[in-house]
Assembly symmetry: C2
Homo-oligomer: 333 residues x 2
């Protein structure tokens, strides 16, 4: 195999077959025969079948705490998880730029394989395309996930009511900050890692509670954007307590230096949950008992209102949290 991806790796011929047979299939497929099929059979357990999809364009391809490969698995696993589903199978698309080192591609595929195994999902079909140098950014990935959830599960923004409490499973902004530092030559160094991970243990810890209204993973646009989506969709106000929102000191420092707001920065391993007030403490304790939920916090509540997101400052003041407008952040996804 050549040392870099060439256009011939995408032409449908021998080199493409080799790339798939030697790299993608052995690392990713449980059943190598499936890689030959136009379409793969899915033997799904009983329940409501759920589908979700996500494209991944993170730059750089590798960053502290993860890479585009693990992210592409966790991202779609997490979208299924917050919908209440158990992820089952994934499809994978890889758009590879001519010139990508094949060893780097191997590392990224290995990370996918580990993340898939860890999340309990199988990659059941895939496609690779090669684009010319200067028409990509090394590698773009897209995954579509199929999962199954209990039939009749009442979970969604429509379930949210005034009085409900808002929980977050851990510190926000880690992923956005880690990628930003890995990407830009700011001259800032630190041990900041992306939080990229499967949130399945977190979502499954809450699924038995009948007071659970809604879950979402605050990725692109961050915690603030999830709050705005809830406020816009329900017409209710969100009241957040500024000092209750967990943010790592290192994230806060970097954001202060660079003038960013951590609430708009992406997480890739956190969950926001809206829970009925009477079960909020129990939900919080369930999360705090998990390795990825130790720093979970109750950060606010839902109130009658006009679809605003209000931030309550430690001194008792209030300010409106604006919706993300023009690009205030480096592109990190």
């Amino acid at each position: 195999m050549n040392e870099h991806i060439s256009l011939a790796h995408g032409n449908g011929g021998r080199l493409m077959r080799q790339l798939i047979d030697e790299l993608f299939t052995p690392l990713l497929y449980h059943d190598p025969q499936q890689a030959q099929l136009d379409a793969a059979p899915l033997a799904l357990p009983a329940g409501e079948v759920m589908i979700s999809t996500d494209a991944f364009t993170v730059k750089p391809l590798e960053f502290p705490g993860g890479n585009i490969g693990s992210l592409a698995i966790h991202g779609t696993v997490n979208d299924l998880a917050v919908s209440g589903a158990t992820p089952h199978s994934l499809s994978l698309n890889a758009i590879i730029e001519e010139g990508l080192p094949i060893e780097q591609l191997r590392r990224l595929i290995e990370a996918m394989a580990i993340a898939a195994q860890h999340s309990g999902v199988r990659i059941v079909c895939g496609d690779t395309k090669v684009v010319a140098r200067g028409e990509g950014s090394g590698l773009y990935l897209a995954t579509t996930g199929i999962g199954v959830r209990p039939a009749g599960l009442a979970l969604g923004m429509g379930q949210i009511q005034a009085g409900d409490k808002i929980l977050v499973s851990g510190p926000v902004g880690d992923h956005g900050t880690a990628v930003m530092l890995a990407r830009e030559a700011f001259g800032l160094r630190g041990d900041l890692q992306s939080d990229a991970a499967s949130v399945l243990p977190l979502t499954q810890a809450l699924l038995g509670m009948d007071g659970l209204r809604f879950m979402r993973d605050p990725t692109r646009g961050g915690l603030a954007t999830v709050m705005h989506e809830i406020a816009l969709t329900t017409g209710l106000d969100i009241g957040l307590q500024e000092e209750a929102i967990p943010i790592r000191p290192a994230v806060r420092s970097v954001c202060e230096i660079l003038g960013y707001e951590p609430l708009y920065l992406a997480c890739e391993g956190r969950v926001v949950a809206v829970v009925a007030a009477e079960q909020a403490e129990a939900a919080l304790m369930a999360w705090q008992g998990l390795p990825d939920g130790e720093q979970a916090a109750m950060i606010g509540e839902v109130r009658e209102g006009q679809g605003m997101v209000v931030m309550q400052t430690p001194l008792g003041g209030e300010r409106l949290l604006a919706e993300l407008e023009q690009e205030p952040l480096p592109r990190i996804c």
Copy 2:
């Protein structure tokens, strides 16, 4: 809305929400509520659930007979169709390059909507990402399709036997040639159109026949590559009759001028079928009765052998058809 896509259309904030709410959701979603969900429910009919995926990187984005939008729908619909499934739902990923005119994006989304409606599939979830100028090629799409086929359908390369006949549903190389002409400044003009279309009517016409062994749509790598995949997988020889393979005179002329071999050029609306000898005539007639199958032909047969693809020339000679090697063609997908 601005006239061109900007990075802010991908940041998760207001402009991204507008782009999705004003362009993608109204054109593509039957149920606008679904566009808000992390994961969408799939209510599938009974049968074996099949999944297939494909990424689309065609350049130019619009070409005679189609565009990347219609192609992204038909491509995945066709992969499900040749597996014997009836396509049901699609996920859609769009990786948009900064600077893409929004009116062009609208045309491409409209083409997707028409192709989806025509193919009887619903787009049930999607994701958009915006990449910086110079890190894309206008628009890349990826679709994953879910379909359902009768349980226990015996269809696949493993069913192929010596003595089976090989059929193609129409002229080969139209798509590859049309895109090549639209892409390159060869100074060649013509009325050549891509064959891009749903092949569902063609596959469904054969599904009742118990002599049907295998179907595939000869896309990237063309007819020759499908023949090689069969030969390599089964260890049987493929004997093709050169003069029986339908190729439009215009495709033949362009390929002669440019030195390309039409058998390696992509089709996007054709099917290759392998059928038991005793049902081959019936299958051919079933296709020839369809609007997209009028020029269907029986082009060869499967023989005991050593996994070779042998071309029989009109004068009675034989030559081996080589597997596609280095890039002999402009990248068209």
